[in-house]
Every structure is written in structure tokens, then in C-alpha cells.
């Protein structure tokens, strides 16, 4: 399984998001060290990587939270919704876990 963690240093959410991603992988008997971390540093890079904001987590190339088609690719903090509807700067760990399990089933 390929797990990519894309982040921008201008948004303070990435350390917590990475820690939660590592916890999810551990809880699914996967090695947290398999995470490929990539820092996005310019708007050009954001456009090239189709980066809708920090953090973005890809599992086997698929965004764990599909983003809207109209969402611009730029250096920004990404807006997530928790499962109870609240806004968050970090994806809901249960959504990340669901994406990991789906990727395991697809193998």
C-alpha cells in the first residue's frame, strides 16, 4: 500500500495530522514508516501535484477525502468536516481508517 502525506509548512495542522495518520496505520497493523511525506512549497507545485490544501493524504493515489472539482489547488489550509459535521483542519481519523481499509480490500 502506498500512503502519501502532502503538507505545506504555512499551515500548522500537519504535525497533528501526521501523528493521527501514524496511529491509524498502527491500529490497522500497517507500518507507519511506509508514509511518504512530501512538502509542497510553491503554488506551481500545488497545481502540479493537484494539492487542494494542507494536509492531504493519498492512499494508493486516491485522496482519503475526495475534494470538490471546483476546489483550487494552492498553498492553503484544507477545510475538513468531521463526521459530526464540525469543521476541522485535520481529517476525521475514522474517515482515514475507512480509506485504509478500503485500500486493503481492493488489494
Amino acid at each position: 500500500m502506498r500512503v502519501e502525506f502532502l503538507w505545506w509548512d504555512g499551515c500548522p495542522s500537519h504535525p497533528e495530522a501526521l501523528a493521527e495518520l501514524r496511529d491509524v496505520l498502527r491500529s490497522e497493523d500497517l507500518d507507519p514508516d511506509l508514509i511518504e511525506r512530501r512538502e509542497i512549497e510553491t503554488d506551481e507545485e500545488a497545481a502540479r501535484e493537484r494539492f487542494p490544501g494542507s494536509p492531504t493524504i493519498l492512499i494508493d493515489g486516491e485522496d482519503v477525502i475526495p475534494h470538490d472539482d471546483g476546489e483550487p489547488f494552492s498553498l492553503t489550509c484544507r477545510v475538513y468536516r468531521l463526521r459530526d459535521g464540525r469543521y476541522s483542519a485535520i481529517p476525521d481519523p475514522d474517515d482515514v481508517r475507512a480509506a485504509v481499509r478500503q485500500a486493503k480490500e481492493n488489494r
Binding site: G10, P12, T76, R78, V79, Y80, R86, Y87
Partner: protein
Amino acid sequence: MTLAIRAKAPKFTLPDTEGRDHSLPEGRVTAVVFTCNHCPYALAWHDRILQVARDYDDVRFFAINPNDAERYPGDSYEAMRERVERDGGWPLPYLHDESQEVARGYGAKTTPHVFVLDAEGAVRYAGAPDADHRDSGLEAAWLREALDAVLAGEDPARAETEPVGCSVKWRS
């Protein structure tokens, strides 16, 4: 640099989403919240801040959006107007700091970044609304503590906290 505690806050006049100008009042405790439309931290704390504005009738509240709308169109004046209209109105005016001079004057770093001013216009609290943007149960406790103290003529127990959120988007 963020205004120091007890520094006099700069006066301002800025338009709200209806085009009406608002100025920093004299002789009244005031809360100034730099915020925006596009940042998840600002969105997560938004309802808590609005509830504080509803709960403190004796305090004047302002929300100010200082972000560069050219790079972040979600923070344009039009987008601000649409958001307030969509919400059916806010209990505090949402002001547009197009020149970014007010944000620079306060030394706002993030959205949100909260300032509480006493009746003489001096900064008595600067920082985050509370300890965790994801815990709505905290109810903007640091902001409330600061307001309670200033209204009682006392120093807030926590005069400064680290603001947490998206960096203010300055024009390049």
C-alpha cells in the same frame, strides 16, 4: 509584531458587509477578531465566537477579514457578503480590511487572532479563542475569561496565548 499587552490599539474605520462603516468605540470593552472565510481554524471557532458575541451584550465585537482576496478569492468582499447573507446575519459586524492596514497595526498573525481591549482601548488579551479548534465544548473559554476579567476591572489571568490558525494572507 503583535501589539503588546496594555498597548493602545490603533483606531480604525472599516466597512461591514452592508457597506456601513464601523469604528473602534471609545469607553467600551471591545473584542476584535481577525478571521476569514477560507481557513478551517476560523471556521471551526466561528460558532463559538458568535455565541460569545451573543452572550456579552455589554461588549462591542468586530470580526475583521484582512486576507488578500486576489490570491484567496474565497475571502473577497463579495464572498464575505454572501456568507453573512447565507447565515441569515451575524451578531457582530464582519468588516473588510482591504488595505490590510488594520491587521498590520494590530500585528495579527493568524485567522483567527483575538484581541480584547479595555474601555480605554488598551490591549488586555491577545491570542486564541481557546485551547483546541476541534473541541467545541471549550466554548471560547480564553476569550470569555479575558472579557470577564476586563469587565470586572481586573487583569486576565491569561493575557497572551499563542494564536493558532492559518497565517494572514498578506499581499505580495
